[in-house]
Symmetry: C2
Subunit: 342 residues, 2 copies
DNA sequence: TTGAAAGCGCTAACAT
DNA sequence: ATGTTAGCGCTTTCAA
């Protein structure tokens, strides 16, 4: 069997309580006995059993992170930032891939609840569990931080990117270099895309540019690399059309990449035939050709902020129940995928 | 407080044992009482406490996955495949980023041990803990599967790619199209790179090609995207040299990318000035320009095989202690980054 | 400053 | 088929 706190206590000739106290440093222990205990711990190579601690204290020093897909580098940059900040505090992370499926999301949250994680971070994801109150119910039992989800009527802490700001800069830029016939390419799932669509419509109205509904296209699987389905969908419903947009704003960089590939397939050149501005600033955008202009979502700050917020909430749950809503600035990064029409 | 098995038992007018039995289905329970229990569970929205189960059974339905860096898509493709296979069996995964640091590796393994995970998968990583016996010691306490690590004197289960095969095909191809002055670009950490170096030397000897030691270059941070440090190191020690190789075999695709960028910086064109064959077949290689030739490491099969192996071992630990060593085939994929010298 | 002991929520051996 | 109960390994209150 494994070595337990009893073994340590026996070897050090103290009670288990004293061992616990010297480990946790939460009650006074005499220097000399502390030394004996520490030596026993070392001699026996004792490692405390987290399951027992969890049972006794309700704390597991672990959190759950839900992402819609491992294939999208954007989610993983956020995850990386989260990992980098929590491990310093001794926390460890369950990574859960929900595949953008609301039911999987519920499954994992219930699972994590059963596992007594100290908190949960939900990175984007589908709307359903926002709207049906599931997240709010979960938040009654556990600390949850939502990244870029619906924040209205939400009882969870919330960190989001300023979606309008970067997008406005990007669209302003497109217009400033002469584009009028602008398309919007978004995904089917999630709050972010809905926000972008709303803003796009609002923006075009503000600029008095008549909106061509056909210029707004939805891809089914927004978190996938370019593939036959997405490409053919794009080819059919947009790039072949007579009134093809001269520029596209694209809701995430994986889809920018798909659009880039689709253009190549059609023999269209980016940016001279078609300009592209993406979203997220995943690493790839800097190394493809042309380098993609994009809106940087500050993934590192996003992940770090969320993790710090969660840790704060966990360690200070003295019943001060104020909800945090943090907004991160975004930044339009202009690289090589936009050409002037003038 | 949370609802416990006692609450369920009380409501269903049975003992906790009966509740436990109907949940786990490991002992007979009468249909009618089973129904009562199930109803009580539903009515109370009862979720069993994993910490308590873990304490009582030593099983947590969780595994730990160690990777050297979240930034390398190759590791995440493996991770994704692992997740996809374990979640179907009700398992969940701690993701641990060791940053290629042996001490972090030990920290996480000890941590996971304390948490009573049912098994651990180590994806690549540094050599130190192979050589100093740390992994072997860990394997006495828990099931561990190593991916692409040192397999000599190893008491852990082991899944690896056939490193020589794909590389031989690649090098054969380079020679077949006229290259003789071939360089090798590898990373500093890990068994895979050492294997590649050994094989490279052996191969050149077989082909009677004199080996220029300067053609073997090591990058410090092999799991990073192209950055100033790596680029300048490359520029200095290779591409500027008079006797610059006409082709490179590169130990991973992140470094292929770095090499590609470095070439661009020097105004060299790939493949006409310099041919590149990478390793791993990360998604990027298919969408950059030129599309990179590479050796496919079958990440999906690799991850899935490892996960299935681990689950098997976990669920059948009837003391049959035979160590599994599985080798996965690799495949040279020729795309656009090699040019003939003839 | 230290020890004794109850309790965290579950499982499984034993008894019926 | 079901109930009783002794743990699993730790924390923490109460007493000393």
């Amino acid at each position: 069997m494994n070595v337990t706190i009893d073994d340590v206590a026996k070897l050090a000739r103290v009670s288990t309580a004293t061992v616990s106290r010297t480990i946790n440093g939460n009650y006074p222990v005499h220097e000399s006995t502390k030394k004996r205990v520490l030596k026993a711990i070392k001699d026996l190579d004792y490692h405390p059993n987290y399951s027992a601690i969890a049972l006794a204290t309700k704390s597991t020093k672990s959190i759950g992170v839900l992402i819609p897909g491992i294939a999208n580098p954007y989610f993983l940059k956020v995850t990386e930032a989260i990992e980098n900040t929590i491990y310093k505090s001794g926390y460890i992370m369950f990574l859960c891939d929900t595949k953008n499926d609301p039911e999987m999301e519920r499954y994992y949250i219930n699972n994590l609840l059963s596992r007594n994680v100290d908190g949960i971070i939900v990175v984007e994801g589908p709307d359903e569990n926002h709207l049906n109150g599931f997240f709010n119910k979960a938040a009654e039992k556990i600390n949850v931080v939502i990244i870029n989800g619906i924040s209205e009527n939400l009882n969870c802490h919330h960190v989001s990117c300023d979606q309008e700001q970067g997008m406005r800069d990007a669209l302003d830029y497109l217009i400033s270099i002469g584009h009028v016939n602008i398309g919007l390419l978004i995904g089917n799932n999630g709050h972010s895309f809905r926000l972008k669509k709303q803003f796009f419509i609002k923006f075009m109205k503000q600029k008095n540019i008549p909106l061509n509904k056909e210029n707004i296209i939805c891809l089914q699987n927004e978190n996938e690399l370019p593939n036959a389905d997405n490409l053919s969908h794009l080819l059919e419903c947009v790039l072949n059309s007579k009134n093809r947009p001269t520029a596209f704003y694209v809701g995430n960089d994986l889809m920018s990449l798909t659009l880039l590939e689709a253009s190549k397939l059609l023999g269209l050149s980016v940016p001279s035939d078609i300009s592209i501005i993406g979203n997220d600033n995943i690493a790839f955008t800097e190394f493809c050709s042309p380098k993609l202009s994009t809106v940087d979502y500050k993934t590192e700050i996003l992940g770090e902020t969320s993790a710090k917020l969660l840790l704060n909430v966990i360690e200070n749950k003295k019943g001060d129940d104020k909800l945090e809503k943090i907004v991160i600035k975004t930044e339009f990064i202009n690289r090589e995928s936009c050409a002037s029409l003038k």
